[in-house]
Symmetry: D2
Subunit: 442 residues, 4 copies
């Protein structure tokens, strides 16, 4: 690795960027970025400039010698980068809003990263990421692609299958989970170790160690009725005690969409009627945020950003890059290729598990707990969906798309899958060129 | 194998028995049964006598030298048998009626062999079959257990895991499917070959050969809109052409419960309101049938039996026994242990695939078609359910039971699973001793 | 399949051809060849004519309407063929003689199809077969390639990996083994069923059924001391009783090279001194045979051919083609792709096991016996050798070649492997163009 | 883990013990042993006292508060221990001497831990270790068994299969290899990272990183002709450059027995003639060592011990215990259960690979390099041998024993295997009670 660290952020105009900048400033000593490129597309130029100027003020105030560049030239940003971070959103919040609405028309859960909504996002996003990979292969073949773009697990799998780029998929759920356990047990996060098993946004905590003691069973016994174990964007429905003890491991926030499908669906239908979708809510937050960012006197990350979600995003990002840069060999939970770790999934699947992080990247550690049929069934059917959705996205293939949706547990039936797919294709025409080229028919 | 063939039929008082008797008579030459034992439990003695007397009249009329015995002594029936056929129904039609009603209370499909209904049936049935296996191990260790009792795939898996008995699980769906193709193509059944892959009642026809020509794709293209491809007990909802071509293989009748979950659920809710469940309907048919059976002038299988369902049941049963007895090495689609044939399922799972049948039993043939994610996802999640349900049934284990239902695609959520499970346990107390012994708590 | 059956025999000038012709004549009724093409290369034209004229006389005498064509034009022979049979020998018997001599220089067993000798044969043969496959892909894409050319298992695997041709690898060992059992038990061959597991020329009989009775253990107990269980070309060294009972299955003739490595090596060294190699012996037989074939009065297969080896070659060949042609679905032991049947070998490996043969080709049947470590170790190491040897042959790759030989249990060490490889490359220059192209260096 | 650390050393009277004591003293601060039990059997009491007294003097001189106990009471030593170290030698050096001689009678390599010699050692050792495990299960179920006793990989596998004890198998080869690379590249050991893959004493270094740079290929290119890459007890025969580059990874010292079988065998035959076996040599060293140990003025590890072999044994031992005790999560190469890490080996096999070490024990990390057929063949056949040898040792089973030896690449043939086995059984009667109980016959 060269001594002068270069980091390129694709989707640099995101409202999350100040979070990332803050992290880079705070951890400058161990991870001394020399050149930081924020890159965005033409349509995002306005936001890029607002966020970029705030970033510049933050760096100046902190007095760290990071050279910040704002650019629309992706090639320039990627060339010789050590790390390429992708935090883009194809179609922006309007697309997300559609993703959340379409499934609800058919009494199916509408969610940004899972179910039919996440599927639509995958179709839009994967080809764009693979296009970025082509640039990395050409202009910075040794760079690591640190992908935050959702659906992060599917993007990781698509990159591993269809590009020749070293990639790690990142989500802030694992780091949040660990901090939530620390808060629950009233200990420092460093005193908590967890074993996580599964795939992105469908991840079971199979073991919880607090101060070197296995507290998994007692936790499952005590947690029902208490709150605090979800993500900003997921309703905090309580888990039932019998259920948790039967499952034998702790589900992640997103599991509520599966195990509490019914209740969440009712909430979403009501919420849509009352206030619109989560995307609509976020849009308002974003407008306010960008107004706030414009303030020339603002030179820190504004506290309002916390409401946006994405807690610890920056910590997760700098953690992984610093561990690679410093060859730390510490353990983080990220998305990588399976290759036998979860025997019930294909070798080429992406999985989200505990990994050793060092200069070679992320290598998963054998699980100490058995993944039995309690976890296996749901895990396998969602992975099969992901595999089909990736094929659909990469090839613009209608059949794979239909079967992906048909396979997904949050879609009610093949007939509903067909209707949802028609709507998704209709309303995302501009972002799905592979589906609308001449030669595509079934 | 001894020269004097002995066959024991457990659940001999079933209304299906005349079908089986007819088959044994018609195929006497190639499968010369010497001793045929119809055995039933005390509660079924009345039916056993009615059916048994009809059977006797049928045998006499046909003039074949089959010695028929009616008995309540299972040990006597099994001792030295060459084949033990199980066609029992624990809890009889009343239990089935409950199985069909309970899930519907919670807007889930109520079906005899799949979903929460099939689950309840599994809980009641598996311990009884394993008990029969203990008799076979003791009194007739070389006998083949030919199991027709549903859920036939799960019963087969339970026997392979928990008993030391040679068993083959049988369903009349494969033979019906082949005959339906023959009718569709207007050829003789012998001119149709099909490759089936999957598990009992969730079985995809992956290849259709008619007169040595692969017609799979053209069939999938033409079939939508045409009828005739279902079982007596399953609503004949049409498949969509895009869906079939995307799936690339032909689903079985039971697939409608999954791919058409929504539509079927609406039908069931309506039907329950209008006329009750399928069990209620069957009960009426059975009352009439037994009245008919009593007629001392009746000495053939009455045509009314056809309405009961179970078409070709007898053909399937005699086919398998005759191929074993005569070491035929022909190909039939039955339920056996996986052991690598479907790589996406555990080795110990039962699967329903094409097998070579000979004196050694049934050995599956490698598939010529790839089982990709289109099939894999649904197959794996249902198999995980089956694995958990078997554990629940064998050990009377509440946790496995709850997770089995939670895992099943026809159950809406973990919360619903819990409610359904409570009802099932409540309403089947008499048939689930393992769940209600002293030591069982969660 | 068209009504007018066309068969092309590549290497038609082989001394074995009259055997094949006899089989085609005898089975004409069930396998009515219309056009039979014997094709050979320029260097083999003389032999082709001698054999071809004998073939013509045989056909005429038999009065069957087979149209025989002799040609050097491979494309013409292959075009629209239903079956392409390969029975060629690259480098002819002179190359075999070298294959048998080189390893002996270094105190390693010299054998035509296994060990370092078989390796040299693989290097010469595989590229030629793949070249033939290109013609089949172009001129007869639906044809079956019935490959008799050794090493038949490796050739099958190479075709499955590097060509798009339906192929079945054939060896006369399985049919011989069955007939030897029949002779031993003094029953008709039809009364013997055997389960074979392994790979070509390394194949264990794991179960022997005689008149529907499993006689495996008693056979293993009785056979030692008795003879008759080997191939013409393999020394008939007795098996030890303790060894057979410990192994638990019956080894094939070629296993002597492994289990009796020491004894065979001593015999070979002595034999080389006394009389030369087996190739030298065969050469003399062949000269005499071709003299005999020239006799214009000869119009049957001369009995002298039996001495040449290859017993039942023709029966095996016609059996497989007729079962395909007639969609027989009988069981034969042939070489096909593994795909999970032998879990201890790669999916893409070729294996030699019992298969159902019908118009779709050969599909293996699940084994009824477990392949445990007794068989697994040797099987895996030889298959790893085969995999490396195939890579070496296909790519002309020195590294793979060296590691193939190093891996083979019949080669003494890596140092010896290096010496043998140098000799093989030196003495086969004309037949290994891929190894001697400009760009090849290590 | 309790605060007062207790360590029990089974085979405490070994000449290696001062090495271990030195390590415990030097690392006392991070690994503060409170109670150190050296335990031995009656026959070893004399040695135990000599070594124990030296240990006591070393501890006193160092001034660390370790309480040392010498005992013949294994139960007392194990009770409540945190770590149980096994470094025993069943039959002592006399048995080793026989192990080395017997195979040489039949022109097979005679070696302490591999081949037929290692096999004999496995037969003697495994039942003793399993007996120790019974004590651990009873008296200290949470203890880690740190096994140094050879064959360490097979012992680990036997414990994992037949006991319920947390175990890690340890060898000093990995730590030596790393230090040898450091010396070769003239860097500190901390600057070298290696990926090792394989099983104990058959372990390939698949990747070498020096100061974060992958130098594997250049190392393989340069190393031939240079020395220093072997163990004390293995002849330092040079590797050939073509061979190393073809293999693509760096073999361990013990690989010479396989890849250089021929050369080593000649050396051993000569050495036996000239000076006896390695055991004979070691015996002399040991006599001198124990004389030295008796010196009441000696209170440090005497430098002569270095000649004995076992370099860094103590470092390896304290490393693993300290990482567990301190929950370090560093990476060490030890023997653990496979469970999917090496896909080509059974799940239950023991493997020797890089592991994360923490309070939960050792969990392997996914390999970053592919294990292809170059490595796979030899690895699989030796593992199959190990599996059979373990069965033989645990059950006293002659058949498994014969097939184990027949399968081993260092045994010439099945016939030789039989002869060697007879000799091993004859000459180890006293140590193989399971083979000589009444009921054992084949
Ligand atoms: Mn996320
Ligand atoms: Mn059925
Ligand atoms: Mn052959
Ligand atoms: Mn060692």
């Amino acid at each position: 690795m060269k001594s002068g660290l270069k980091v390129a952020v694709i989707g640099g105009g995101s409202s999350y960027t100040p979070e990332l900048i803050e992290g880079c400033i705070e951890r400058y000593e161990e991870f001394p970025i020399q050149d930081l490129y924020l890159v965005d597309i033409k349509e995002g130029q306005g936001k890029l400039e607002i966020v970029g100027n705030l970033a510049r003020r933050m760096i100046e105030k902190a007095g760290v010698p990071i050279n910040l560049e704002l650019t629309l030239n992706r090639e320039e940003a990627i060339t010789n980068a050590d790390f390429v971070i992708t935090q883009l959103r194809v179609g922006m919040l309007d697309a997300r809003s559609r993703d959340e609405r379409i499934p609800l028309r058919y009494q199916c859960i509408g969610q940004e990263t899972t179910g039919a909504g996440g599927f639509a996002k995958a179709l839009r996003t994967i080809p764009v990421i693979l296009d970025i990979c082509k640039d990395i292969e050409k202009f910075s073949p040794d760079a690591f692609l640190i992908n935050f773009t959702n659906p992060a697990g599917m993007v990781t799998e698509a990159v591993n299958k269809y590009a020749n780029v070293k990639t790690i998929g990142l989500c802030n759920l694992p780091i949040n989970t660990r901090k939530q356990f620390a808060a629950f047990f009233d200990v420092d996060a460093s005193e908590v170790e967890i074993e996580m098993a599964g795939i992105n946004h469908l991840n079971w905590t199979t073991k919880i160690m607090v101060r070197n003691k296995d507290v998994t069973q007692s936790f499952l016994d005590e947690i029902p009725g208490k709150q605090g174990f979800t993500m900003k964007n997921i309703p905090d429905i309580e888990w039932d005690r019998d259920f948790l003890l039967s499952l034998g491991s702790f589900p992640c926030g997103y599991h509520r969409y599966y195990y509490k499908k019914d209740e969440i669906l009712q909430q979403q239908i009501q919420q849509l009627k009352d206030e619109g979708t989560r995307a609509d809510e976020v849009k308002k937050v974003e407008v306010a945020l960008f107004e706030r960012y414009k303030d020339p006197n603002l030179s820190i990350k504004p506290p309002e950003l916390a409401q946006r979600g994405g807690a610890y995003y920056s910590e997760a990002a700098v953690n992984i890059m610093s561990s690679i840069y410093n060859n730390k060999k510490d353990i983080q939970t990220v998305n990588v290729q399976n290759n036998g770790i979860l025997a019930c999934l294909p070798s080429t699947a992406s999985i989200e598990v505990n990994c050793v992080i060092d200069q070679q990247g992320a290598r998963p550690i054998q699980l100490s707990t058995e993944i039995d049929a309690r976890i296996r069934g749901l895990l396998q059917v969602v992975k099969a969906y992901e595999e089909l959705a990736i094929e659909a996205a990469v090839h613009g293939d209608y059949s794979s798309a239909l079967m992906a949706l048909t396979t997904h547990p949050l879609v009610k039936s093949a007939s509903v899958a067909e209707k949802i797919l028609r709507d998704i294709l209709d309303e995302n025409k501009d972002y799905l060129p592979l589906f609308f080229s001449e030669s595509k028919t079934i």
